[in-house]
């Protein structure tokens, strides 16, 4: 998480400039439009049965939730990148966001190692 290159908090004034990057309302409007479309899309998708995929006996993957989550993630990244100016902000801030997601996935993933392998040897 620590970035030696970011090292000197105060002396490197130059680094702050891009912080003040101003995103034009046009971009905001476009993003808004895309987000609304995505909402409509994900809502519509849920009415269609996208079927499932038998990975292994007993382990099936349903496509609907996958698609729904995928769309949600896209929307999230749009909001984060543009509304929250991550696209224009410093590497440290980007890193912060990434590390947050990483730990979140750790929580989910490592817990699932238990839940998913509990039934092993039982089928």
């Amino acid at each position: 998480m620590s970035e030696p290159s970011q090292s000197n908090g105060q002396s490197a004034q130059g680094e702050y400039r891009e912080q003040h990057h101003i995103v034009s309302p046009a971009i905001y409007a476009v993003i808004l439009f895309v987000l609304l479309c995505a909402t409509a899309l994900t809502c519509g998708m849920s009415y269609i049965d996208l079927g499932e995929w038998q990975i292994a006996p007993g382990v099936t993957l349903f496509w609907n939730p996958v698609v729904a989550i995928a769309i949600a993630c896209t929307k999230m990244s749009l909001v984060v990148l543009f509304f929250m100016h991550i696209k224009y902000s410093r590497r440290l801030t980007k890193l912060t966001v990434v590390s947050g997601l990483f730990v979140f996935l750790t929580l989910i993933g490592m817990t699932l190692t238990d839940y998913m392998s509990r039934a092993w040897g039982r089928w």
Binding site: Q54, P57, G58, T60, A119, R122, W123
Partner: protein
């Protein structure tokens, strides 16, 4: 000795009487466990002496009087590498060794004799297959692998026999199992080690290891007349399970003969081995465990059967090797099936196909 204060004397007396530094090794696994234990003790001692030596030696050699001017040293990659890699290596050895032990303790051998343990606040209830019930006591024969199938009916408990070096959590709503093979006749402590409420420290008992003959005698002496399976059979008919599970070709429920340890295909397409855990689950939450080809009409028995009851049923189903018993039960019972729950919804003709392959 009268000039020693009686209190001190009592204390010394206690000291001499029961003062032990290490628990008895009374099971097959115990020596293996202790081997690893002492290996780690050794490593710790080496590590500790090393650190102490370094500190003491350096403090003597380089204290201010001897060595007034410090020499600035950046560090040494070589040394860093040494004390990164050597501990890592040792820890990995410990990891592998421990893992082997772990799997040995938690995978019971197929020929093990199964005893059920139910933990409740604040007692252990032991159910022998022969129908012997014990509380806070566990009688077992020597030199025979014993598997404990453990469950709790309220909170977390933990079934611990230090002399055997085994311990397993009793989880509410799930079977866990552990096994051991006693090697020394005697009486050993049985503890609940997971904090479970007010009388946690009263939830202790004895494990009595007996020679095979004594054990036979004990079994004969303390049997309640009918075996666990027979209790199960009684329950089976009184709950009129046999109204559907009657192994008739047009039965509404799957045939239970030889169902134990067989591979079942569930309506979800998942195949699963019908072990104790599955059977218990199928009785308490039928809707999640529907055998393929049957409709979800079985009512839940959650809260209607005690854990002991479920154990008896499971034991009954386990020992169900021919239709004979079921048919018998069918004839002996005169309780009508409570149809408003078990009757299939109109328009659904349950297929008669059987899922069980022995």
């Amino acid at each position: 000795m009268d000039h020693i204060s009686p209190v001190l004397w009592q204390f010394l007396d206690k000291w001499l009487e029961h003062f032990s530094l290490f628990p008895p090794e009374a099971s097959k696994i115990a020596p293996q466990m202790d081997a690893l234990y002492f290996f780690m003790v050794l490593i710790s001692l080496v590590g500790l002496t090393l650190v102490t030596l370094l500190i003491v030696a350096f403090s003597i050699l380089y204290n201010k009087k001897r060595h007034p001017q410090a020499v600035q040293i950046e560090g040494s990659t070589l040394l860093e590498a040494t004390w990164t890699i050597i501990p890592l290596g040792l820890f990995l050895v410990i990891f592998v060794w421990g893992a082997l032990l772990y799997f040995r303790i938690y995978t019971p051998p197929p020929n093990a004799m199964n005893i059920y343990v139910v933990g409740k606040q604040w007692m252990w209830k032991i159910e022998h297959p022969g129908g012997q019930h014990e509380i806070n006591m566990l009688h077992i024969p020597i030199n025979e692998p014993i598997q404990l199938t453990i469950i709790s009916q309220d909170v977390f408990h933990s079934f611990s026999i230090p002399a055997f070096r085994v311990k397993r959590e009793a989880i509410p709503g799930r079977y866990t199992s552990v096994w051991f093979e006693a090697t020394k006749v005697g009486t050993y402590h049985l503890f609940c080690t997971q904090y479970c409420g007010t009388n946690h420290s009263q939830m202790i008992g004895d494990v009595v290891v007996m020679s095979p003959d004594d054990f036979k005698q004990w079994l004969a002496g303390s049997t309640s007349g009918n075996s666990l399976a027979m209790d199960g059979e009684r329950l089976f008919s009184s709950l009129s399970c046999n109204a559907c599970h009657n192994s008739q070709p047009d039965a509404r429920g799957p045939n239970l003969v030889n169902v134990y340890d067989s591979k079942l295909t569930l309506s979800t397409g998942q195949t699963i081995t019908a072990d104790d855990a599955y059977l218990r689950d199928a009785i308490l939450n039928p809707s999640q465990n529907i055998t393929q080809g049957y409709s979800p009409i079985m009512p839940t028995y959650q809260g209607q059967i005690s854990e002991e009851g479920v154990i008896a049923l499971v034991e009954y189903i386990k020992n169900l090797h021919s239709d004979y018993r079921v048919v018998e039960t069918l004839n002996t019972t005169d309780i009508p099936p409570n149809n408003e729950q078990t009757a299939p919804p109109p328009g659904q003709k349950p297929p008669a196909q059987k899922e069980v392959k022995p």
